[in-house]
């Protein structure tokens, strides 16, 4: 609860200083992968190692969603045989992983980034184009205790 308290404090009191956008990395093709390069604007706010770890985990989760393997083939073949009507009632593997990603981002925000005055936006809300990082003004976040 303390973490959500901090998130709420951010929203009410802190003004948005700027936003940083981490773009997609297309060097491996069309799969969903974000650049892990540490943006210079965050240097004063967060540890480089921590940030890169978050981005790497995010990339791994997207890779899991888009993995072409036995399970996805089975899902695809089953869907084809039912004339794809099965998508109306079943949640796809991709959607399941997207929920996992949403939980991961929320957890990262609560535990790591909100206390530092940052907020990560789930890329799906930006059409998987960018990871938007909102930097809040560095007022003392000691209001709500």
């Amino acid at each position: 609860m303390a973490e959500t308290h901090i998130l709420q404090d951010l929203q009410h009191q802190a003004a948005i200083a700027s936003k940083v956008y981490v773009q997609r990395d297309y060097n491996s093709g069309t799969i969903c992968k974000f650049q892990t390069k540490f943006p210079s604007e965050l240097e004063s706010r967060v540890d480089k190692q921590q940030f890169e770890e978050t981005m790497q985990t995010l990339n791994n989760l997207y890779a899991e969603a888009e993995k072409i393997g036995g399970k996805s083939y089975l899902e695809g073949c089953l869907a084809c045989m039912t004339a794809y009507t099965i998508f109306l009632c079943m949640e796809t593997h991709y959607e399941k992983v997207l929920k996992k990603i949403a939980r991961f981002i929320k957890e990262q925000n609560e535990k790591i980034y909100a206390p530092l005055g940052l907020l990560l936006t789930d890329p799906i809300e930006r059409g998987l184009r960018v990871v938007e990082i909102t930097i809040f003004e560095d007022r003392s976040i000691g209001f709500g205790r």
């Binding site: 997609r24 093709g29 069309t30 888009e66 072409i68 695809g76 796809t92 789930d122 799906i124 184009r129």
Partner: protein, 350 residues
Amino acid sequence: MKNCEYQQIDARALGTPASSFQPCTEMKVPRLRRKWEVFPGKNRFYCDGRIILARQSGILPLTLGLIVVTSVLFFAFDCPFLVTHLTVCIPVIGGVLFLFVVISLLQTSLTDPGILPRALPDEAADIEKQIYTSGSSMYRPPPRTKEILINQQVVKLKYCFTCKMFRPPRTSHCSLCDNCVERFDHHCPWVGNCVGKRNYRFFYSFIVSLSFHTSFIFGCVVTHLTLRSQGGNGLVQLVICFFSIWSVLGLSGFHTYLVASNLTTNEDIKGSWSSKRGAEDSGNPYTYNSIFINCCATLCGPMPPSLIDRRGFLPPDDIPPVAAADLELSSFLAKNDTNMVGMPSSGHTS
């Protein structure tokens, strides 16, 4: 009391206690709009955003009409004869194929082909800042491209001025729908929609099942007319099928080749990966170099979600559309009202 006459209750006087509640009613939340209502592309939405169609439905009604009319004539005129003379399986197979064709067609037309939502103003400003930092020009600069390396192959990413973003590889902007579509194949007027990443497998199953269906009907009608030597009712189906077969079979064959080599119609027509440089192997960087894996990846790969979130709610108008974090935290807002009140006082004392 001398003047204790009853006075009629003034309705306006009654209004005053009610007006004290007015702030509450004025504060009622305006109907939240869904994102499809403000979608910038040329699309039409039905069933509160569940169904998406291109604005120009093209000749989809004609396609549906031809398929339905031909199949109905087949079931009405040829099936009775063939059931008695051959086997009862014929209408069963015909029925299954017909269902498959119609379902695939509807899925191709009514599914989001892989539309990329346009960049938000902040995002667009960030990208434009990066493009225009090198030299400040007043006129609109030439389209910017970004070169990246995919599988040792140089790929140019173009900047889309409409959607305000660098298009991912294999993405193209459809002028008819005014959207950037991922893995853009082509805009098909017969299905009245773009064919892209999300509905290519539906499109492929549509043309393949349609090939089987037309061939099946053609074969049955020819059999019917042959067996019944003194003429029969099969001319309409025969003519439609005869002319469709060439085009549909040809298209199926072409798309089978595309699927096997992991190409899109767009890339094939433009000759993006044809060996223009002679000896240098400038092949397709997306291929898995195996026909089987290419087919599986294209047709049986994971089904990507729709990125445009048409049924999502827009943030209320009074809150500026900053970050989606606003929506996430609104649930915390509702829970902790006391905290809001407590804030100023705690700030005061500290």
